[in-house]
Assembly symmetry: C2
Homo-oligomer: 241 residues x 2
Amino acid sequence: MPGDHQEDPLENKLLAALPDADLARWLPQLEPVDLPLGKVLYESGRRLSHVYFPTTAIVSLLSVMEDGASAEISVVGHEGIVGVSLFMGGDSTPSRAVVQSAGRGFSLKAHLLLLEFNRAGSVMHLLLRYTQALITQMAQTVACNRHHSVDQQLCRWLLLSLDRLASDELVMTQELIANMLGVRREGVTEAAGQLHKAGLIDYRRGHITVLDRPGLERRSCECYGVVKKEYDRLLPASKAT
Amino acid sequence: MPGDHQEDPLENKLLAALPDADLARWLPQLEPVDLPLGKVLYESGRRLSHVYFPTTAIVSLLSVMEDGASAEISVVGHEGIVGVSLFMGGDSTPSRAVVQSAGRGFSLKAHLLLLEFNRAGSVMHLLLRYTQALITQMAQTVACNRHHSVDQQLCRWLLLSLDRLASDELVMTQELIANMLGVRREGVTEAAGQLHKAGLIDYRRGHITVLDRPGLERRSCECYGVVKKEYDRLLPASKAT
DNA sequence: GATCATATGTACGCAGGCGCACAGACACTT
DNA sequence: AAGTGTCTGTGCGCCTGCGTACATATGATC
């Protein structure tokens, strides 16, 4: 869909939080990109050529094992940036970034981001604070994977995804969700069935609609709340100073 | 034990990797500290007053749930620093840092570290690279928790701990290990029994001795290797430039 | 509207890990 | 040398999630 309706970089909250002076410099360099379902933005061990600022898409960071088994480390949506390892100094990461929910975003050439980062001003601090939030998400996921049921994790996952979307509908198969959570597809079917029975969600073939968000939050493990709170704390919805 | 033998900050590899000019400035500010087993270096949500550079101690970063259940996110030994969230901009983290193996280290006042970090030179890049390695460890732990057996995880954990110690003996109860891995104490007993039967380790009441390191590596899941490789890549044993 | 790939539902046995309970064994105290 | 607290070993039954297999439903395509 060329000439799509929304092509505003400010839909990405990280970009929106940039001081005006910085933003003005960035805008000409940002390229709108289409992020179709399943697109791999970066692969384990490969050098990063671009970073991405999703606007309507959601991207998952996955840890992938030799045998193909995977688990989601964290999710990135319109609140963040894909490719933090670039400015952390790694050039690459041993994880994979995959578009989990189709949409759009903006890309920026790696060397340009590095230039901006190395100015060591508010841009840098903003990116580091975002990374800190990402770390929190990972840390919580470690414990969640260990201690909570598929049911609870599904709630957490739905809520985290929802926060990163405008709508209350996810275009997403259960198979995909299973890959993210690192569980069986059947396990997701079962858990989703429970949530449906409880009147919290509705779904059909590749679409999940959340009916009762507060209900989901109540059913979810504490992990969702912990992560959300930390994102809100570290990345308030206002300009960086 | 006052006037202990080794009080050399350079035993910490991160400090050792500092350019001489930076190191010279730091040395007078570093205070040797005793890190006894179980000491909490920072608590969830609390402001960090110091950062720590372990030399002979090992520190675990834990995710702690409301009900007290926990899981280790990552380990820090003589290769690193405890308190990365300070310079990442968070002031605090929702995790806890506990001394997992008694020993010593050096502390540095938070504001001094921030001053150094904000010079935005090689110190900053070194710390960020270290943080990137830490992130890798977390990411791998997410997947490991999900897909690997207690047996394999114990191997990984032993190896990671060993890399952060001089000796091949860990002073550590199975109960403690269970807390780190987020499993039952009995599960660790069982797994340790297996490893003993296989001639890989020896142990008695609070002490574990590794007999066959290569054997452990073979028995461990791939996660150990992935993490190790990334630490080596990001933090080579030489001065930063 | 028939066809077909793909998404979802269900069932069954199995294994790993949990919670609990208690027995033995070790090291430190006095 | 005895006493004591803690650490380790072991044995249940239970439940969750896994692997496998197959049945059914749905929505896109022709």
